[in-house]
């Protein structure tokens, strides 16, 4: 059981929280010990927008234990430039295309067996926000 792992990852999984380098303002997700741009080691927490576009995607039909297939996985290019691997949700495989706008939602990632705990974290769905606002 790796319960401590998910406790440790909670700010990244629930809030999409990365870091901003104090010297050069570069945004990183996930957090690292050193800035990939300038080598700096002072950071402040930075919550990413959660909005981006699909950079590449696949429908998983042969899946590892704990993930019932089929499901959709993608690389998402966030507005801030970060490229992130995550599941897509609320969409069918034939509707996905490279470049389509998506936004982060919090969903169940996996179960650890019938008596185990549930893991929640970020997934991405087709962007709804703009339509709701207008």
């Amino acid at each position: 059981m790796d319960l401590p792992r998910y406790h440790r990852l909670r700010s990244a999984y629930y809030r999409l929280e990365g870091q901003r380098c104090a010297s050069c303002d570069t945004l990183q997700f996930p957090a690292r010990a050193r800035c990939g741009s300038c080598g700096g080691n002072a950071f402040e927490d930075h919550r990413l927008s959660g909005r981006g576009t699909v950079y590449s995607y696949t429908e998983m039909t042969q899946a590892p234990a704990g993930f019932p297939p089929p499901y959709l996985m993608a690389l998402v290019r966030l507005e801030e430039g970060v490229l992130l691997a995550a599941q897509l949700t609320d969409i069918d495989a034939h509707e996905v295309e490279i470049g389509m706008p998506v936004e982060m939602v919090t969903r169940r990632l996996r179960e650890h067996g019938p008596r185990g705990f549930l893991v929640y974290g970020y997934k991405f769905r087709p962007l709804l926000g703009r339509r709701l606002v207008s």
């Binding site: 990244a12 039909t61 042969q62 590892p64 234990a65 996985m73 490279i98 974290g121």
Partner: protein, 382 residues
């Protein structure tokens, strides 16, 4: 550093070995390599393996195999670099000999995957990706490779069908290799219609889950005895890239493969065109394409054109996977890097049977782990 030579090579057939476990597979390959080299004992045994802990519940694997192969009290330990483990074990053996720590070392790559159901094996393989940010979200290395393939097709305006020559060549070559898992050629139509594993990757783009072990004996120049057929390791290099696929500046560049191959070319004074064959890490057709581009055989986005011209088939400008490759010989993950070197050795000694190339003096072998996060490259010459 001292020159290092390969004096023995051995292997088990690749396949589903229901009656053989880690100890039998490992001991068989090690003893076959020692017999081939005509040596009885070694200073050390280095074991390349990825999954013995999570799939077989067996760590301290190298001691198990030293015991099973009757090599006690030789120094022995396991080297893990995901699917590049088999290449890494040979490099570790070569380094130990080059550095003067040992004179004769055997490296064995071994994987026993069929002891677990597919879902558990997939989960084990997925641990080669970043567990926090990829594997725990449902990614496997098939899935990550599928993202690379989809992006490749998008950026270079290619169709999945254009990847067919890699799979067809591998299966045709495997037909001539008695140790290969799939000894049956496939047609373009079979490739096209093979069901998706992780779209656009289909079953016939992907290497199979299987068992196998392969071993090589390496030694110093002084330790070579008459009757042996020594091959020189002209260069050996390893390199790494980001764990997370998204963290790469360009997901269509295999940085670890490019760096380790250019280090090999630099160290040996040779170039891509000096190689007579390339044992590529063809676990997925997209990885074959990206490897050819990383090693200097094709420009960015040009590997499929190279394949369409017949360049990667026997007799072409750079024959790949001449014994069937990971695709059709089979991909017992931690063993594959060692199988590549064993098969290259057979070519360089003129003992590749029906697959023998007319000219085989120098071979490039490249073992890649974790969708390109680690790569080990060797140049071997007769």
């Amino acid at each position: 550093m001292r020159d290092v030579f390969i004096i023995g090579a051995g292997q088990t057939p690749v396949g589903e070995h229901w009656d053989l476990g880690l100890r039998e597979l490992g001991a068989t390959a090690v003893r076959a390599a020692l017999d081939d080299a005509r040596v009885e004992s070694v200073d050390a045994l280095y074991v390349g393996n990825m999954l013995s802990g999570c799939v077989n519940g067996q760590e301290n694997l190298a001691t198990l195999l030293a015991d099973a192969a009757d090599l006690l009290p030789a120094e022995a330990w396991k080297i893990e670099a995901a699917c590049a483990s088999g290449g890494a074990a040979v490099r570790a053996a070569a380094l130990a000999v080059a550095a003067g720590a040992h004179d004769v070392v055997v490296a064995v790559g071994i994987e026993k995957m069929t002891d677990a159901v597919t879902g558990s094996v997939s989960a084990g393989l997925a641990s080669a990706a970043d567990q926090d940010y990829e594997a725990s979200h449902g990614f496997t290395f098939v899935g990550l490779s599928a993202l690379m393939m989809r992006r490749y097709m998008h950026e270079h305006d290619r169709s999945r069908d254009e990847f067919a020559p890699f799979a067809l060549t591998a299966h045709r070559n495997a037909a001539g290799n008695e140790n290969a898992m799939f000894r049956k050629p496939i047609s373009e139509e079979e490739y096209r219609e093979s069901p998706a594993v992780a779209s656009p990757i289909g079953v016939l783009d992907a290497a199979p889950i299987c068992d196998g072990a392969a071993a090589v004996v390496v030694c110093t120049k002084e330790a070579i005895q008459s009757g042996q057929e020594p091959l020189r390791i002209a260069a050996s290099a390893a390199a790494t890239d980001t764990m997370a696929l998204g963290a790469r500046g360009d997901i269509l560049e295999l940085g670890s493969a490019a760096v380790s191959s250019s280090r090999c070319f630099e160290a040996s004074g040779l170039g891509p065109s000096d190689m007579d064959l390339f044992e590529a890490h063809d676990a997925f057709t997209i990885i074959t394409a990206l490897s050819l581009e990383a090693c200097g055989y094709a420009g960015r986005g040009e590997a499929l054109r190279l394949a369409a011209k017949g360049c990667v088939a026997p007799g072409g400008c750079i024959p790949i996977s001449t014994s069937g490759g990971l695709k059709a010989r089979g991909h017992p993950v931690g063993a594959s890097g060692t199988y590549q070197i064993v098969d290259a050795a057979l070519q360089l000694r003129g003992r590749a049977g029906p697959n023998q190339l007319q000219k085989a003096r120098r071979a490039l072998t490249q073992s890649i782990g974790g969708h390109g996060s680690v790569a080990v490259t060797h140049i071997i010459e007769a």
